[in-house]
Symmetry: C2
Subunit: 280 residues, 2 copies
């Protein structure tokens, strides 16, 4: 039987295998500088961090080690957001296999994070270039791009990793999963579980449903809210059958629009589905 | 830095990512009952066996454990032959990073295998349905399909795993790698190293060169020597540019011709290239 860390690794691999996942790298779509094979290497490199999470290490530490390994390829940021979701989920799955995947177990874990976890989280940004927007000016001192230099501010203000996530919850879909007990991850896991056929195909379907449900925050950051809202409408059209998902995929890749947060949540959903016994 | 076990896992993932690899599953080609995602799960499942090899466990034991994990997906045999090549290579890479990947280190390791290793090898056949041909009648008692029931014969005759490989060297390209110190794996690793561009693409090129160089023994077993020889000619035509590799891929998939041994050797070559520092 696969361990939680192995299921997390498989979730990363299946996420990028599912196709089409409009706008994201998948096994039929890639960018010149961000290729399918970078995601393979990123998933292999994440192992150490995922194992630490499984062994009960602190969330921040496990995440930071995961990112170090993930970054050992030339594509840059492949699975930063996905790991931020997977690490507490792997911790939850290893606590007690019976109740582990109830959302309140995960909620307890993220709410119990410490200032130390927050410092490790900031440190992770030093290993890889993550696309983030400018914070509001009053949060300048907490700009994640400051990396380890933000440490003194975090300690001074006593901010835990959960607190840091709360500060971004309005602008970052991954942070919102943290603060709201992973609602979209669990919902998409239900879809994957209820669906049939190849698991990677189910993941691609779940991705499209997530994309049609609300604006992807990574698109909002990189482009603007209007672009993200347009993508929601296009994704709904793809779900309705008005346009082919493959057509939408070509369109978004061409425009360089990359719904990264939606892919991250898809990976989290795949992990939950695998832990519940969905089999490949 | 990735460990040898991690590089082996990445080699398995890159092998199936490279496309087109005519006749084999790759990220653009799959069969209904043997899909891309089965290879993802197979690679994740192989971890335990690859780690054992890295820690210096016996080759047979590490292989058998790798196969158990690999088989935990619904596609059946995905990477049996590849693991049979990778396990001694991972052992070699962990012995002494300096000299590890000289072919004589690997040769020492396979020549030092024991009767116990042979028994574990036979046991591995109980976990997954591997396509093998009928042995010559004098070797009936050693038919691998007898699994653990062959154990008494192996012990009686004092056959090591290397001896077993020698018995198949004429009919099995993986066994031949074992008995001849992995010449094709090392040669293809040189090609991958000398090539440029995405590593998965280089692997696909190396695969085609291997395929054009000599008949794939898995095709000989499943079909016949004539079919295997035709594939050599078609692969050479693809190399010469007379036919598109993509066309050959469609042709072989349609005919259900699967050069499995060539894929196994490609995975071994990828591992060697990664260990030598080729980076993704």
């Amino acid at each position: 039987m696969r361990s939680p860390a192995q299921n997390a690794q498989l979730a990363l691999l299946l996420e990028v295998s599912g196709t089409p996942k409009p706008g994201n790298v998948d096994r039929r779509h890639e960018y010149d500088d961000l290729r399918f094979e970078h995601f393979m290497a990123g998933a292999v490199g994440s192992t150490r961090g995922l194992l630490l999470a499984q062994q009960g290490a602190a969330v921040g530490r496990a995440f930071e080690r995961g990112v170090v390994g993930m970054a050992e390829q030339k594509g840059g940021n492949t699975q930063f957001g996905a790991l931020l979701l997977l690490v507490p989920l792997v911790r939850a799955a290893s606590v007690d296999p019976e109740t582990a995947l109830a959302s309140d177990t995960v909620e307890e874990i993220v709410r119990a994070t410490t200032v130390e976890d927050a410092c490790d989280f900031y440190r992770a940004f030093e290993h890889v270039d993550v696309g983030v927007g400018d914070p509001p000016s009053e949060l300048d001192a907490l700009d994640v791009r400051r990396g380890a230099r933000a440490e003194s501010v975090l300690r001074e203000r006593g901010l835990t990793l959960f607190d840091v996530m709360e500060l971004s919850t309005d602008v970052d879909g991954v942070a919102r999963e943290w603060t709201e007990a992973f609602p979209r991850s669990f919902r998409a896991a239900d879809w994957i579980e209820a669906d049939d056929g190849p698991v990677a195909d189910r993941a691609a379907d779940a991705y499209l449903r997530l994309l049609a449900a609300e604006p992807d925050t990574f698109i909002v950051k990189r482009h603007d809210r209007e672009t993200a809202t347009e993508v929601v409408e296009r994704a709904q059209a793809a779900l309705d059958g008005t346009i082919a998902p493959e057509h939408l995929a070509a369109e978004l890749v061409q425009q360089g629009i990359n719904p990264g947060t939606t892919a991250d949540i898809t990976a989290a959903a795949l992990f939950l589905a695998l832990e519940r016994g969905v089999s490949v």
